[in-house]
């Protein structure tokens, strides 16, 4: 049963990634693209967690943690650059 749920999860997360790519390409403003990229990172973390559950290994948790940190820092740095023209003042 977990196997079926994981297959459903893979499909759902992949479809969500396709939606995010649509917004990333079509987004009328720059901030739409930043938001789509931030959501893409979260969906990718979900995919990594599903993969780790399917393989029954805890090896991928560090990569998920690093990915979440890099997603947050890149989004904040980009928004800060657009706001102030500088990242660290």
């Amino acid at each position: 049963m977990i196997g079926f749920a994981l297959v459903f999860g893979f499909f759902a997360a992949s479809l969500a990634l396709v939606f995010n790519i649509w917004r990333l390409v079509a987004g009328p403003t720059l901030m739409d693209r930043v938001l789509a990229f931030d959501t893409m990172v979260i969906n990718f973390i979900a995919l990594i967690m599903f993969w780790g559950m399917q393989q029954e290994t805890t090896l991928y948790f560090e990569s998920a943690l690093l990915l979440s940190m890099f997603g947050f820092i890149s989004t904040v740095a980009f928004c800060r650059f657009r706001l102030r023209g500088d990242i660290i003042e």
Binding site: L17, V34, L83
Partner: protein
């Protein structure tokens, strides 16, 4: 008991995936950026929380040991989602509504604090105002 735990894990995975899907569908369906911000910051965060909870229960069942990596990821994502939304909204305001004329009135003495100095900001002479006088009566 094992069947019930499996049912719980499968339920958490399906609910989390549905929330991820709803968040990303809202990202392409909603009207403009300020409404679009709602979908990823709330629905997607809830979905990833459910998936991490499912992974935690799964590794308790499989390994027999509590893994705390998921709690770390969950806390980090739940803490950073509002900060990200705030920064995106603020950058959007500064790019597209530069004079603030399209924003509704605040109905307070000061304007929107993104554009105007807030209630605690120093005035022209550099003096910080004391506590607001209308807070005393």
């Amino acid at each position: 008991m094992a069947f019930l735990l499996e049912l719980l894990i499968a339920f958490l995975i399906v609910v989390g995936s549905l929330f991820l899907l709803v968040g990303s569908a809202g990202l392409i369906k909603l009207r403009d950026l300020m409404t679009r911000l709602h979908a990823p910051t709330k629905a997607t965060t809830l979905g990833i929380g459910s998936i991490l909870l499912a992974s935690m229960v799964h590794f308790i069942v499989v390994r027999g040991a509590v893994s705390v990596h998921e709690i770390l990821i969950m806390v980090f994502l739940f803490l950073t989602a509002p900060v990200t939304a705030h920064f995106v909204a603020k950058a959007h305001l500064h790019e597209h509504l530069r004079d603030g004329s399209e924003l509704p009135p605040t109905e307070r003495g000061c304007g929107w604090s993104t554009f105007d100095p807030g209630p605690g900001a120093p005035d022209e002479s550099g003096q910080r105002p004391g506590p607001r006088s209308d807070a005393e009566d």
